[in-house]
Amino acid sequence: MKAPLMAIARHRIAIDGEGVTTLVAFHGCPVRCRYCLNSFCLRPEGLRRSMSPEEVLDEVKIDNLYFVATGGGVCFGGGEPLLRSGFICRFAEIMPPSWKLTVETSLNVPIRHLKAMQGIVSKYIVDIKDMNPDIYERYTGKDNRQVEDNLKWMASNGLSDQTLIRLPLIPGFNTKSDRDRSREQLREMKFVHFDEFTYLVPEGQHLAGRP
């Protein structure tokens, strides 16, 4: 089993979860964010390597001491890591049990991928963009029904406490009121950990995402 990778980035301290982590970034993503941070994940030149879980383990295990001593491990990002759920499951089987796994996901994936992560992943970092379907579609080009369904499944399966929800303020696409509404909707779903931040876009370079 091999998966297309964009990069493996070591020693990400205080970025992708607790402790020292190594980011394994997959190629390929289901959404098309207008201010995409990793557009390489969509372009052919972004596909740097094709590796098996065993090969990835062989490469990242050099930091085993740091992972174990700090409660860190591996963060799967991308791109969309949950599209590679089989790869992550295999990696979890062969990695040292004391490592922690984090996934950084859009959640816009079929629910079977999410279900496969149960009991494997310690922390979910979910970038929901905005809960408003119109805003979401304008910003990502996709609808967010799958995201909402997956969030509900996570909440009903006791995963809300290990989930950090990103709530960005996206210039030209949503407002603080929109974000407040998203947060309230998520609170009602029993999510409690939020990360609010703002995309800074230079003057004159905003996209007109709002009607």
């Binding site: 070591r10 020693h11 174990v68």
Partner: protein, 240 residues
């Protein structure tokens, strides 16, 4: 201090903790490399391998090895603070950054209603942000740590004394009552001269640039474009 040097210092602190916890004699060599590094280098990697060997030896001899979580608290959960969007249409050419403006406040009051919100930055004497600095009430166990821009946000009881510490720096204490600007604090830690220096990097480390949340080789970001005089030049994008 550069980000790479800051990572290097944190990793070195973790190695020191592992060595101390297991009775391993470990003295990092002083680093005189002045350029930007990735936070590790061949000399650092050799030290990791040395510790691995020492721990393996102890296991073989039936000795208990202390490793799990012994350096927890050196790092904490925060989000990527700054990244660069590349997939932007023509209308957006130029640098477009997403910068996190706020960080979630860590509640150190154990749910007490009477609390104050403190926000700020922890830096070294040169004004460089300190990543992973630990902030806690004196004598308490729970703590908060600074993110990768040295920023923190905490809720604490108004009657406590804060203790701010960071590997390689002297610990400082601050009385919460005496804080004048609770939401824009700047805490400067002095370098701890008692600690050994940084590791020697005999081989210059290949530079990388940060793209979004991953690091890509720098040469991938170089494009050849025509200069004003018609000559070809390298156009290197700057990334934070």
């Amino acid at each position: 201090m550069t980000k790479g040097k800051s990572i290097c210092r944190t990793l070195k602190g973790i190695r020191q903790k592992i060595a101390d916890a297991n009775g391993i004699h470990y003295a990092p060599r002083e680093c005189h490399y002045e350029g930007e590094c990735e936070g590790t280098c061949p000399a650092c990697e050799q030290e990791v391998m040395f510790l691995e060997r020492e721990l393996q030896l102890r296991r073989k001899n039936g000795l208990a090895v202390k490793l799990a979580g012994i350096a927890a608290g050196v790092c904490a959960v925060v989000m990527p603070m700054e990244s660069v969007a590349q997939n932007r249409p023509k209308a957006m050419r130029g640098k477009v950054s997403t910068v996190k403006r706020s960080i979630p406040a860590t509640d150190l009051t154990k749910g007490k209603a009477d609390s104050v919100l403190l926000k700020g930055i922890v830096t070294d004497g040169a004004g460089e942000p300190l990543i992973g600095a630990v902030i806690k009430s004196r004598g308490a166990r729970n703590c908060a740590t600074t993110d990768n821009h040295g920023m923190f946000a905490i809720k604490v009881s108004p009657n406590v004394r804060l203790e701010i510490s960071c590997i390689g720096m002297e610990t400082q204490t601050v009385e919460v009552k005496g804080i004048r600007n609770p939401e824009s604090m700047t805490i400067v830690l002095k370098e701890d001269k008692a600690l050994p220096g940084e590791i020697v990097a005999p081989v210059p480390v290949k530079k990388t640039v940060i793209v979004g949340s991953v690091i890509l080789p720098e040469e991938q970001e170089q494009k050849t474009v025509s200069g004003k005089n018609g000559k070809l030049r390298k156009n290197k994008k700057k990334h934070k």
